[in-house]
Symmetry: C2
Subunit: 197 residues, 2 copies
């Protein structure tokens, strides 16, 4: 018997990602979000949800471009800070000591010190409620060489990202492989075939 | 200097969530996804992306309702299985031995054995590319009592969810608190005020 809880944003795990934009004056801004994710494989798209009151919202409407810089645990403090203050009157890059680098793919800056970057162009804007969802096509990805696996793709343990736990407002680090995808469930497929035989 | 990588769905961490629906015949079905997340706080909404070829897609179009059951590491094998086979000709609940329970809030079933359940009604359908995004309002949440914290909300360490690592197709478990949200960044706010003084 389960206990009922009032509706809320308690789904876990949520990502901790930093959205980079240029504002209407051309100033680089960066904002941390937890409401976002991959939303299409082909072509690859990534969605972020942003409140209208934010400085990032105005920039997104104006430029129709953004980056997502994924922080390692190493930069947790800066990532948290990026979500605490508005970029309207503050240069968050300057304050944090991190570097705003201009993407050569989209009209947006990213965090040079973060290991994995997605460069997106807005394809859809959806007003949901307090948040507006921006769906961007991923036009470019860049990563530090040291976080790549043998296939040249980013390895999660080397990127060392962290997840956001909405109910406790904590960031959680990753431990290790709990299972292989498209493999752990194989036993149940076999037992299913036997049952049907 | 970063290395450029061709666009792909390499953003991490991604969730591992199981989407429950009733198909057009009323049969309970369940499908695992990694493309989804919270997309609005007020009112709370949760989005999932689904390919048109899936059995779940047809059910979603027909019923306009779904649940998201969040598996613990304990049920990783079943969750992986739910993403490997189609519910068109197979009763995945029966094969896995898990229980399809009818939600009393929306027209969809959930996995009784999983600790945390979200009950959603579709508010928007957005065709992006190979995936179609369903944006659902969270109308109900239910959780096992044993995963609740002292405030009666689900605690991430008790839910014990796992994340999906797209480039290695692995599921990763969570380790521990790496930092406090809206707190770790406080030092940078102070130093910013001092700099402006």
């Amino acid at each position: 018997m389960k206990k009922r809880i009032d509706p809320g944003t308690y789904a876990c795990p949520a990502p901790t990602w930093c959205v980079g934009t240029y504002d209407t004056d051309g100033k680089a801004n960066i904002m941390t979000i937890a409401w976002g994710g991959i939303c299409c494989s082909v072509p690859p798209h990534l969605t972020i949800s942003i409140r209208k009151v934010t400085h990032t919202y105005k920039a997104l409407i104006h430029r129709k471009c953004y980056t997502v810089s994924i922080p390692s645990v190493k930069h947790l403090q800066e990532a948290d800070y990026f979500g605490m203050v508005s970029g309207k009157n503050i240069d968050k890059f300057a304050t944090s000591g991190l570097t705003a680098k201009r993407s050569e793919v989209v009209d947006a800056p990213y965090v040079e010190e973060f290991p994995l970057i997605f460069e997106c162009e807005v394809r859809h804007i959806l007003e949901i409620g307090g948040h507006v969802q921006f769906v961007g096509e991923i036009l470019g990805i860049k990563a530090d060489e040291k976080v790549l696996n043998s296939k040249g793709l980013p390895a999660i343990d080397k990127v060392n990202p962290f997840v956001y736990a909405p109910t406790s407002r904590e960031y959680w680090s990753l431990k290790d492989v709990a299972g292989k995808g498209f493999s752990s469930g194989q036993t149940l497929i076999k037992s299913s075939s036997e049952n049907q035989a």
